[in-house]
């Protein structure tokens, strides 16, 4: 009998060991670290084009989008992506430029005055939802892109329909103009510019930035949509990388150092990337000559963003865009070697369009995009990946 009682005890023992084996301790992901949100409005005709996402002082998120083609749409969420406030700016303030710039008490946002076509400056208090039109910059007409320089000045790309030229303006921190320059366009491109501003058809990849003492902009110049380099001190023309009309263009650029750039290209509907390009700013070249790597999966005229991500001390150049299948796709390259580290997709089944992405305070990734609920209704989608999930990309 003892033998059998021992057997019983043995069986119970095994069972208890199995139970205790399942109680393993792991680092837990909190709800704010990883989530998906779809912002449903129940409106039939809503249309959203997300432009920018930033993290606010309370660890929430502020998203800037275009809606109703060119209206400014802002919404703030808490750290778990739950909406706190939504705001659509009334006309005449339309055509928001696709960036939000942090300042002491919130963010700077820029848009256009529909009546005067001037640049309008807004200060946004993300916590209260208060937006204040702090300044009108009349010297810039049809604003197309803006960038804050390393010494907190503003460099702006505009369009002058009277002289048919792209205009470049440098402002001080308080929007006092330092210089401006015109870059003449030989073709009539007004329709392209107006359509871009009004949100008709695909947006064009206007952008502006600086690399050392060079300022570069992507816009109309001469006969095509080109990448133009100028002197940051006075706006004097340096050189250009011509595109072919608006059909073969640089679609994104990120400066890596002197004459070094990571870039993306749109070639007649097919995407291409070049993670480590050497470009002589003071020469005239043709974008088609760049030794880009074709990524035909990138959607025609897709918004491409190039950002630098720091992952545990490793510098990574992360491209974000969407594919022809309407998946969000991210190409991670080593900044140092220019080698491809990984390709990652988000959203395999529902359709998505890239809006913006950012590395969050907790080392994760926040992505805002446009999706179609039930395949029909344009809505904003927000993906948040925890640091642990994001780390699997590198």
């Amino acid at each position: 009998m003892n033998q059998h009682q021992n057997l019983g005890k043995y069986l119970i023992g095994i069972w208890i060991i199995l139970l205790t084996a399942c109680a393993s301790e792991e680092e837990l992901i909190e709800p704010k670290e990883s989530f998906t949100r779809l912002y449903e409005t129940q409106e039939f005709t809503d249309q959203y084009e997300p432009l920018s996402i930033v993290q606010t002082s309370d660890s929430g998120y502020l998203t800037l989008s275009r809606t109703e083609q060119w209206k400014t749409h802002l919404f703030k969420t808490d750290e778990e992506g739950i909406t706190e406030w939504v705001q659509v700016m009334e006309e005449p303030f339309v055509h928001p430029l696709p960036q939000l710039f942090p300042q002491d008490s919130g963010f700077w946002m820029f848009s256009m005055n529909e009546l005067s076509q001037s640049l309008e400056v807004f200060a946004i208090n993300a916590l209260s939802g208060n937006t204040e039109n702090v300044q009108t910059v009349s010297s810039v007409k049809y604003p197309l892109a803006i960038h804050r320089t390393a010494d907190n000045q503003w460099i702006v790309l505009g369009y002058n329909r009277d002289t048919q030229s792209s205009t470049l303006h440098l402002f001080t921190q308080n929007f006092v103009e330092v210089w401006n320059q015109s870059f003449e366009i030989q073709e009539d491109v007004e329709e392209y510019v107006i359509n871009h501003i009004a949100g008709i058809g695909s947006p064009l990849p206007f952008f502006i930035g600086t690399n050392g003492n060079n300022v570069y902009f992507n816009g109309f110049y001469n006969y095509s949509f080109s990448l133009v380099f100028a002197n940051l001190s006075d706006g004097a023309f340096f050189g250009t990388m011509h595109g072919y009309r608006d059909e073969s263009t640089i679609s994104a650029l990120y400066p890596l150092g002197s004459q070094q750039y990571a870039l993306a290209q749109n070639n007649f509907g097919n995407g291409a990337v070049l993670p480590n390009a050497t470009i002589q700013e003071r020469t005239i070249g043709f974008g088609g000559d760049l030794p880009t790597i074709a990524y035909n999966e990138i959607d025609e005229n897709a918004r491409v963003l190039i950002k630098e991500i720091n992952h545990l001390g490793q510098e990574i150049i992360l491209y974000g865009t969407h594919t022809k299948r309407r998946q969000l796709v991210f190409y991670a390259y080593s900044k140092e070697s220019g080698e491809l580290i990984s390709i990652n997709y988000l959203g395999q089944t529902n359709p998505y369009r890239m809006g913006d992405f950012m590395q969050t305070e907790d080392g994760g990734l926040a992505v805002v995009s446009e999706t179609y609920l039930a395949g029909k209704f344009s809505r904003l989608a927000f993906f948040k990946l925890s640091q642990k999930e994001f780390a699997t990309w590198f």
Partner: protein, 324 residues
């Protein structure tokens, strides 16, 4: 449970018989089971009668009470059964944040939408004494459950031009289960009714999700039914790998000479959330449709199973099994 306590405390069946007699004759069962007896007198009466009969039967044989080798038995066999489980929501979660209304999405876990599952396994019973059985029943089990979500959009200018979608989310989970149960056997003879309680460890081996989407499009002014679509996708990471459940129920065995067959019915009560809260969003990012983010769920329901077991201890002289 009280029956088990008697066994554990080594109260002899005869003592129990006297308690039965005292209860039966004097009607003072409150003295022993105060507090519970008022609500459960019928149950206890039934219990006592069953035990009384069984003890009476055995009392006749008490002179040749088995000892040593013949005092215990061990059975090995197979089990198979079906289950019907109902998800109970512990906490709501959704990926949809409504700008227009507060509660846009609600998941409906209708009992009619919960299909049958089944389990198949091996079983071993160990009877250290004639009234007690300890059983381990390693099984493969398939549990199925699901929910529906519905959405509708209306054109503010023309409300009749609406669009409706319904998603049916069905989950099938495959487990390896290891239940440990203790049975109290009332009649250790040919017919052996028993009650049991147990705890079950289960390991999630695989999970799949099937999404059936259907809808009606009124956007043209007339209702057009959309073709029903079905998609299946792997959902294993969505669920906790290690889960626990409690079981309680009863059944009956019939002892043939060389084998024993049984049927039992149990109430199944999931101990805790089956959804992995670490993967709730990450594992559903690639799912089609809406309403994919799972609530925290506990499964409760019923199981019925059959078993065929064989005694393992035989008397070498007659080659007949030890019958307790």
């Amino acid at each position: 449970m009280s029956c088990l306590l008697f066994v554990i405390r080594n109260v002899s069946p005869f003592d129990f018989y006297y308690i039965y007699l005292i209860n039966h004759v004097c009607g003072i069962n409150n003295a022993i089971f105060s507090g519970k007896s008022e609500t459960m007198p019928k149950l206890y009466l039934l219990l006592f009668i069953l035990i009384g009969i069984s003890i009476e039967g055995n009392a006749q044989k008490s002179k040749r009470r088995p000892t040593g080798f013949t005092s215990s038995q061990w059975y090995v066999g197979i089990t198979s059964g079906i289950s019907k489980l109902q998800p109970k929501v512990l906490d709501h979660h959704t990926e949809i944040d409504g700008w227009a209304s507060e509660d846009l999405e609600s998941k409906a876990y209708a009992p009619n939408d919960q299909p049958m599952g089944y389990q198949l396994g091996l079983v071993t019973h160990f009877s250290p004494i004639r009234f007690l059985q300890i059983s381990i029943n390693p099984s493969y089990a398939r549990q199925r459950w699901g929910y529906r979500t519905q959405y509708s959009w209306e054109n503010a200018e023309e409300p009749v031009y609406a669009f409706e979608m319904e998603y049916q989310h069905q989950y099938t989970l495959h487990y390896l289960q290891l239940p440990l149960t203790a049975k109290y056997v009332f009649l250790p003879r040919r017919w052996k009714p028993f009650v049991q309680v147990g705890i079950q460890y289960q390991r999630t081996m695989d999970a799949t999700k099937t999404l059936i989407s259907s809808g009606t499009d009124h956007t043209s002014g007339t209702a057009i039914a959309l073709a029903q679509e079905t998609q299946s996708i792997k959902a294993t990471p969505l669920f906790n790998k290690h889960q626990l459940a409690a079981k309680a129920g009863g059944g009956i065995y019939y002892h043939f000479t060389g084998c024993m067959v049984g049927i039992e019915a149990n109430y199944y009560y999931g101990l805790g959330n089956i959804v992995d809260d670490q993967q709730r969003y990450a594992a559903t990012r690639d799912f089609q449709g809406l309403g994919n983010v799972l609530d925290d769920l506990r499964l409760v329901g019923q199981e019925v199973s059959f078993q065929l077991v064989f005694p393992m201890k035989y008397l070498t002289k007659s080659f007949s099994p030890v019958v307790l």
